[in-house]
């Protein structure tokens, strides 16, 4: 008999956005019951790996107008301006709440919260806790969430399907990774907060769990994925592993040099970062590094060519105080000591600007379904996200969606359980059939590797029509081959092979939307740099991309950008 659990609001994902939504929900109504469902223990969520900081206006020389404009310009004018306005206004109270909950923000001598410079931001507005901001924010939120008995955790439960009945989402089917059972967790509202999909690419800062699960769940139920072509390459990842070296290194004064010892962002104005130099936006700096390497100015290493990030002039004291994690990471994973040696770095897939299409409340077109954090596109990041906006985004829109989900849950009835139970029984049967499915001629790791290769060659820093087209074709084939993957692990207990197989299907679905949307955008904007169409084309492409799931293959559509406050202009720094 399938177990059916019932709550008011079901949240999928226990990172910053999911936890903030959960806390907001129980604060909005202490009587509400929240299920927090995560495929890992919440403190393992990938928020933990964010390093540099969270943006919110804090200083007298700053304003909402400036933060808003920086974000709109950073987005290459594809961010929705009403959403951005709300974001910048809510950012300071949200970071303040985190302060009240115990986040160990770094401090000025007078005890006020310290802020640092970040790429594309005109003044110091990035709050930080040394260089472990995601770690501290996640642990603060998780520990604070433990105060609330009405938040019920379901740890290590992998959501495989949204339960939809009569045009509304009614809960989720979740595979208990530890026991192997599939059960129904019902709720009158469901919030997806599963993060990004960096593992669609071979070289990424993302942890192993970032497989686009929430995006794929919504997509398969007919909800559009929006602006998926915009994949952010972080300029500074360690070669080989892709481990993130935070932008805060440059915020604190770090410099980039090529093999000739040339500070190329300064000597070559064509890179477009102007006087911002290393504090230019991520899309531009990643392209600059890529071009340096392509021009033969890279340094040859075991894992391909790279350039140098030099922090040696900052001094041991500052590095130990502000960037201790960078010291640990560079020493442990690159074998260099940043106090005396430059760090080898190269651009690496970091963040999906796109995600589940939502409005400003986080609501999707499917009644009762919300999305927040990296898995959503509200859209505040447009074509390129500014560093340190995303942690704050998780709080601002996590809180708003949490409150709205409560409102929706209260206004909706429970309906009948029987059709949902049947859906879960079918899902359980499907997963049972998959477990240890020995027949099949494909290898999971082989299909996964081919997918990541297709994404790198088709949807990398620079994109060409032919390679994007070939990526869409490869992905369509891989989707079919995926159904023929042989699985060897027959155990019901902690079967990570079946989780990986289900994640692979999610990644292929998400990857396909990236390639399809990229191919449609015949211009260059933000992180989407198309070789054949090097300029931005507002006349034809000042719109969001939407990709819908259809059994025959993805269907493309578009949607207006909310403008009105800041007029699109040439993006120059």
């Amino acid at each position: 008999m399938t177990e059916v659990l019932r709550h008011d609001v079901v949240i999928v994902g226990g990172g910053a956005a999911g936890l903030r939504a959960a806390i907001a929900a129980v604060e909005a109504d202490p009587g509400i019951s929240v299920a927090l469902v995560s495929k890992v223990y919440p403190m393992r969520s990938h928020t933990v790996s964010a390093e540099g900081g969270a943006a919110a206006v804090a200083r007298d020389d700053d304003s909402f107008e400036m933060h808003g404009y920086d974000t709109v310009k950073g987005s290459d004018f594809l961010g929705d301006q009403d959403v951005i306005q709300y974001f910048v206004e809510q950012a300071p109270p949200e970071l303040t709440r985190l302060e009240h909950w115990g986040c160990p923000w770094s401090r000025n001598a007078d005890g006020t919260v310290a802020t640092r410079a970040f790429g594309g931001m005109t003044t110091k507005r990035t709050w930080y806790a040394a260089d472990k901001v995601g770690f501290h924010m996640l642990h603060t939120l998780f520990q604070h969430s433990m105060r609330f008995d009405r938040i019920v955790r379901y740890d290590e439960q992998f959501v495989t399907k949204l339960l939809v009945e009569d045009g509304a989402v009614r809960g989720v089917a979740a595979l208990d990774i530890r026991q192997g059972e599939v059960r129904a967790i019902l709720g009158r509202a469901v919030i997806l907060a599963t993060g990004g999909a960096g593992k669609c690419f071979p070289f990424t800062t993302n942890g192993n769990i970032k497989t686009g699960d929430g995006m794929a769940l919504a997509y398969r139920e007919g909800v559009a994925l929006k602006d998926m072509e915009f994949v952010q390459y972080h300029p500074t990842g360690l070669p080989g592993t892709g481990i993130l070296i935070t932008e805060a290194t440059r915020g604190e004064g770090g410099r980039l040099f090529n093999a000739r010892g040339e500070r190329f962002l300064e000597t070559k104005p064509e890179y477009g970062v102007g006087s911002k130099l290393e504090l230019g936006p991520r899309d531009m700096i990643s392209r600059a590094i890529f071009q340096e390497i392509r021009a033969g100015n890279g340094i040859q290493g075991t894992f391909g060519e790279y350039v140098h990030l030099d922090l040696t002039h900052l001094g041991r004291e500052l590095l130990e105080k502000r960037l201790p994690f960078v010291l640990e990471l560079a020493r442990t994973y690159a074998g260099v000591d940043p106090v005396t040696q430059p760090i080898p770095i190269r651009p690496v897939v970091h963040y999906m600007m796109g995600g589940v299409d939502t409005d400003i409340d986080g609501a999707t077109e499917l009644a009762g379904l919300y999305a927040v954090g990296e898995c959503a596109a509200h859209s505040m990041n447009g074509a390129n996200r500014l560093g340190s906006n995303s942690l704050t985004e998780c709080l601002v829109f996590g809180a708003r969606a949490g409150r709205h989900a409560v409102g929706h849950a209260k206004d909706s009835g429970d309906g009948s359980e029987d059709p949902l139970r049947r859906q879960v029984e079918e899902e359980a049967a499907r997963i049972d059939g998959l477990r240890g499915r020995a027949k099949g001629s494909e290898k999971l790791t082989q299909v996964r590797d081919e997918m990541t290769q297709a994404m790198e060659s088709g949807c990398g820093v620079y994109r060409e029509q032919a390679s994007m087209r070939s990526a869409t074709e490869t992905l369509a084939q891989l989707r079919r081959r995926c159904a023929d993957v042989a699985l060897e692990d027959r155990s019901r207990v902690f079967n990570t092979e079946i989780v990986a197989a289900l994640e692979l299907v999610n990644m292929i679905d998400v990857a396909e939307t990236v390639a399809v949307a990229a191919l449609q955008r015949r211009e260059s904007r933000g992180a989407h740099a198309c070789s054949e169409f090097p300029g931005r084309n507002d006349r034809e492409f000042l719109h969001h991309s939407l990709v819908y799931y259809e059994p025959a293959g993805p269907r493309f559509d578009k949607k207006d950008v909310a403008l009105g406050r800041w007029e699109p202009e040439e993006r120059k720094y």
Partner: protein
């Protein structure tokens, strides 16, 4: 790569669906010079035996998922270099925890201990958001900062001789976390936590072995936290005797 070397990994396997007791299985793995222990486990999973179960995610020593026993010592497998081991490397699940499967251990008991220390800011009156952030000097931050660096990797529980004998012992990471909040200038909950720490199986059960601090991959020094928490719990209790107004019950 040029100098490919092979190492033998002797991995503890246990599947409750079919095994009565754990067994070991050996795998020969071609290792790269820069690999960590986790890279070899992932190679086994991807290329030799997809039935091997282990937890991992960030591979940058911050998510805390991949703690295991490597050649008898608790290690964060994504942080420890393979080059520091010989030709044979033994990998087993962390001791002092029930094993779910292979290298995966049960954490629910820890999560309860964790919650037991009230790891959140306690204030008589909560501050309004409109009042802005509280002030905290860099010195006040320094008081608790390193105790806030715990990634919950569980190595300290695996190393603790008290946990080995008394599974109910609150343990190093949970005590350090509670103590971290009590030391925070924004918190007013030290009294509540001191009462918790005076309970059975908490700070006074610690035998000063210091093993927890030795294995900690983030230099949190939980042993120092436990010792400080002991002292505070005693002083708080003694103050209660002198000032009956503050005495408990």
């Amino acid at each position: 790569m040029s100098d490919v070397q092979k190492k033998t990994f002797v991995v503890t396997r246990f599947d409750p669906d079919r095994d009565q007791v754990p067994k070991t299985q050996s795998y020969e793995v071609p290792v790269e010079p820069d690999w960590k222990v986790l890279d070899a486990l992932n190679f086994i999973k991807d290329h030799i035996d997809p039935t091997l179960s282990h937890r991992w995610s960030c591979r940058m020593a911050v998510c805390g998922s991949c703690g295991m026993l490597v050649n008898g010592e608790p290690k964060l497998t994504c942080k420890v270099a393979l080059s520091s081991y010989g030709d044979t490397v033994e990998v087993a699940p962390l001791p002092n925890f029930p094993v779910i499967r292979d290298l995966v251990v049960e954490l629910d008991g820890f999560m309860e201990k964790f919650e037991h220390v009230k790891p959140w800011i306690i204030r008589a009156k909560e501050r309004a958001v409109e009042d802005g952030p509280m002030r905290q000097s860099p010195e006040e931050l320094e008081e608790f900062k390193h105790f806030s660096m715990c990634i919950n990797c569980m190595l300290c529980y695996a190393a603790c001789p008290v946990v080995a004998n008394e599974p109910e012992f609150l343990g190093p990471a949970a005590i350090a976390l509670g103590h971290r909040y009590s030391l925070d200038s924004r918190d007013e909950g030290a009294g509540e936590r001191n009462r918790i720490f005076r309970g059975e199986g908490t700070v006074f059960a610690c035998s000063y072995a210091n093993e927890c601090s030795e294995v900690c991959p983030k230099n949190v020094d939980p042993a120092a936290a436990v010792n400080q928490a002991k002292l505070k719990a005693v002083i708080d209790w003694a103050a209660g005797l002198v000032l009956p107004r503050r005495a408990e019950e």
